[in-house]
């Protein structure tokens, strides 16, 4: 009752502003927490990655490295022709997961230094090379576009 129109309007604007501030804070916090950086095996040996930090690891699936343990556990090596990282994964691999094909895995190193992936992406196209993988391999002069 006592509120004037001006006060009411201020309250509404203040409320909207508070909401937007909250949303911005949440977004920035989530970006800091949940965005995962992309590394190639060579990046990892150069910069190092703390155990438990969620990252994306990309490269080519090394020839002859796909090993199936019992059950659904599988391990394979991801290489950028400089360094190689062995990845453990449990689950169904994508249809186009093959040796010498580009792949992106998402997960973290465990305490013993093993990379445990919970997601393996190999896209549904036979010519596919993940862009991040192609770019970093081009930057290192290892991979040229075939056309």
């Amino acid at each position: 009752m006592a509120m004037t129109r001006k006060k009411k309007r201020l309250a509404v604007i203040g409320g909207a502003f508070a909401f937007l501030t909250l949303a911005t804070t949440l977004t920035l916090f989530a970006l800091g927490q949940k965005a995962s950086y992309f590394y190639t095996p060579a990046d990892i040996s150069e910069k190092g990655v703390a155990p438990g930090e969620r990252i994306r690891l990309g490269g080519l699936v090394a020839t002859g490295s796909i090993a199936r343990a019992g059950g659904t556990d599988v391990s394979f090596a991801v290489t950028d022709r400089i360094e190689t990282v062995t990845v453990s994964y449990s689950g169904i691999l994508p249809d186009l997961f093959r040796e010498e094909q580009g792949v992106i895995t998402e997960g973290a190193f465990d305490a013993s230094g093993r990379f445990v992936a919970d997601t393996v992406l190999a896209r549904h196209d036979e010519n596919y090379m993940p862009r991040e993988v192609a770019d970093s391999m081009k930057a290192r002069g290892i991979w040229q576009e075939e056309d």
Partner: protein, 663 residues
């Protein structure tokens, strides 16, 4: 020859669209009737030419004319006829042609039904449509020509990507594009209003049906895409927060906001400037979506073969249209006068709240989607923003909106009574709470989050029913009077209730499948069994099968329920398409009520078994059933436009009537 006619028609359409972009605007400026009158015939002619061009490409596909590079790259003579036709837009060039065809069709509809629009507004709207068409026609002709020939022509085509050889391709892209491109009409109206510097309630009456139609189509397109990915990719997921999914979700969010703010503008003449801005932003987000999908700047399952020149071209279109329209907005928005005042607690206030939440949620999704591009441009580091980010931000932002939805329709215009609305919603609230508590205590091992989510879903459904019941006069009139009032309610009231209830059903499906899903993964030999949420799945073995353009190994399963009774068979297979040397997974899915049993095959294990991944997806179908409710709600609201505005029955053009009442 047919192919060359198609190509030529496309060039002609481009030339005509240049005429359409200039002549009517000049006419409107200097008040020349004859110049303005160019708009309609030009719009029809462009539509006719592009339809001819599209038909020519379709003929090339149907006849498997491999001398056309596009057909050779994406078709195969053994491909079933349905996929030969849908393959027309299963590639970059063809899908852009479909985009333009739909754009031209919308322009044609405005020209057809626009006879009662003010002449200058009509001329300006069609001219802006012409500008969009010219830009995209130039893009297709210069960098994505679907009619390019190759010599000598190959004997056999390279086949369509097997993932796309599905009925989903027949429905998903056309519906999605109807939505994307439908918003171009809202954009053209907004720009035309800014050019004229005049806007009124009649403008909103005109824009609303187009927004509704585009929004309903986009809802259907997104839902269809989601269901397609769910059953085709074999990952069992229905939404991945993939950049391309976000690209379609962004215009949906802002389109939903536009739908609601246009109501305020139509009924109360308020929020004019905001509505115009939303109309511009919604189509801008559609353009951004087209850019993200077509340029391949973001890693996604959707990007076709990428070509940097195309990305740059679309980026330029993006900059010209978004930058141009926003600059026009900045210069002219102040000329649009603001309308009716209202209290914070009112129907208008509720709709403003809706807009605040939806646009903020859209901004969050936009930031998350573009963040990797931004980080790479600034620091050179590559970063990915995935589902965890969106779940953390979008979820908390959208839940308060879901809680607020049932209040909106119960508040009066100008000054509402929140206390009275709460009292009226008490029954809905109590029932939703009860269902939430029952879920919490009766279903084993369920989390508080799941129970809360289920309660929110039912709160939305019961809230929508409460609105209908109250408007029919429950408790105040005899049943027969109530029934008559119920039947006589405006169609838009039904539309609102259907859409809001649909939102509740979709929420229910999402909550149930995210919190109660059961996943099992095992290596199975023939004869092995696997327990999936009380169902026993028995692997009967692999059977080879030859399709028209693929071979497959079908994994056959029999499943029985707790009592041991056999319930049926599931067939899940691994396909191989020799033309592209490409394997695919065909999931086996059976429905039980609204829940599904979902079985996907993995690789062969070294010991001869096969990896099997099986899910129990509780109430998963509600995700898409809710979307169908929203679509139907949009359609029902559209019908209302014809009836409520009450023009002579002989005329069929609904928007025309809107204008008659306005004047």
């Amino acid at each position: 020859m047919i192919v060359e006619i198609g190509h030529f028609a496309l060039v002609l359409a481009f030339a005509l669209s240049l005429v359409l972009s200039i002549v009517p605007i000049v006419g409107a400026r200097i008040g020349d009737q004859r110049l303005m009158a160019v708009a309609e015939p030009a719009s029809f002619a462009i539509l006719g030419l592009i339809a001819l061009s599209f038909a020519a490409l379709t003929v090339a596909y149907v006849q498997s004319d491999f001398s056309v590079a596009n057909v050779w790259e994406n078709s195969h003579s053994l491909k079933p006829m349905l996929y030969k036709i849908t393959g027309v837009w299963g590639n970059h060039e063809g899908s852009m042609l479909l985009w333009i065809l739909i754009l031209a069709a919308f322009g044609g509809l405005v020209a057809l039904f626009g006879s009662n629009l003010p002449a200058t507004l009509r001329a300006n709207v069609l001219a802006v449509q012409g500008m969009i068409a010219a830009a995209f026609l130039l893009f297709v002709l210069a960098s994505s020509n679907p009619f390019a020939r190759i010599s000598p022509p190959p004997i056999e085509g390279r086949d369509l990507n097997p993932i796309l050889q599905d009925i989903g391709l027949a429905i998903h892209p056309p519906l999605l594009y109807l939505g994307y491109v439908g918003f171009s009409i809202c954009f053209s109206f907004a720009v035309a209003a800014l050019i004229e510097g005049r806007i009124d309630a009649a403008w909103a009456r005109w824009v609303r049906p187009w927004t509704l139609a585009a929004w309903a189509a986009l809802t259907g397109g997104i839902a269809m895409g989601s269901y397609w990915a769910y059953y085709e990719l074999g990952w069992g997921g229905w939404w991945f927060w993939d950049p391309v999914e976000n690209a379609s979700f962004l215009p949906w969010l802002s389109g939903t906001a536009l739908l609601h703010s246009a109501i305020v503008m139509e009924k109360r003449s308020a929020l004019k400037i905001w509505t115009v801005l939303l109309a511009i932003l919604t189509f801008s987000l559609s353009l951004l979506g087209t850019f993200l999908v077509r340029s391949g700047v973001l890693t996604s399952v959707h990007a076709f073969a990428t070509d940097p020149t195309r990305g740059v071209f679309i980026l330029m279109i993006l900059i010209v249209f978004i930058g141009g329209s926003l600059a026009l907005f900045a210069f002219r928005a102040s000329t649009l006068t603001s309308g009716g005042l209202f209290q914070p607690i009112s129907r208008e206030g509720g709709l403003v709240l809706n807009n605040l939440f939806l646009t903020t949620a859209a901004a969050t999704v936009l930031i998350g989607t573009l963040w990797p591009l931004l980080v790479e441009a600034v620091t050179g580091e590559k970063v990915s923003v995935g589902a965890p980010f969106f779940n953390m931000t979008f979820g908390p932002l959208i839940v308060p909106l879901l809680l607020a939805v049932p209040f909106g329709p119960l508040l009066a215009w100008k000054r509402g009574d929140l206390y009275a609305a709460s009292q009226r919603l008490f029954v809905a609230f109590a029932l939703a709470l009860l269902i939430g508590l029952v879920t919490l205590f009766m279903i084993d091992r369920i989390s508080v989050v799941a129970a809360f989510g289920v309660a929110v879903a039912f709160w939305l459904v019961f809230g929508a029913l409460t609105d209908l019941a109250l408007k029919a006069g429950i408790g105040k009139a005899s049943p027969s009077v109530m029934f008559r009032r119920f039947v006589g309610l405006p169609r838009s009231v039904f539309g609102t209730a259907l859409a809001h209830a649909g939102l509740g059903l979709t929420t229910l499906g999402i909550v149930a499948v995210s919190t109660l899903e059961v996943e099992r993964i095992a290596v199975m030999q023939p004869g092995d069994t696997l327990d999936v949420a009380g169902y026993e799945l028995r692997f009967d073995g692999l059977v080879p099968f030859d399709g028209p353009n693929f071979t497959e190994e079908q994994g056959r399963f029999t499943y029985s329920d707790r009592s041991g009774r056999e319930r049926g068979e599931v067939v899940s297979s691994k396909r191989f398409y020799p033309a592209r040397q490409m394997p695919t997974t065909e999931a086996g899915i059976t429905s039980h009520g609204f829940s599904q049993l979902y079985v996907a095959l993995g690789d062969r294990a070294p010991d001869g078994g096969i990896v099997v991944r099986a899910w129990w997806k509780p109430q998963v179908l509600f995700i898409w059933i809710g979307c169908i409710f929203m679509m139907v709600g949009g359609g029902v609201s559209l019908l209302d436009r014809r009836l409520r505005v009450g023009a002579p029955a002989a005329k069929r053009s609904k928007p025309a009537r809107a204008v008659e009442v306005a004047t």
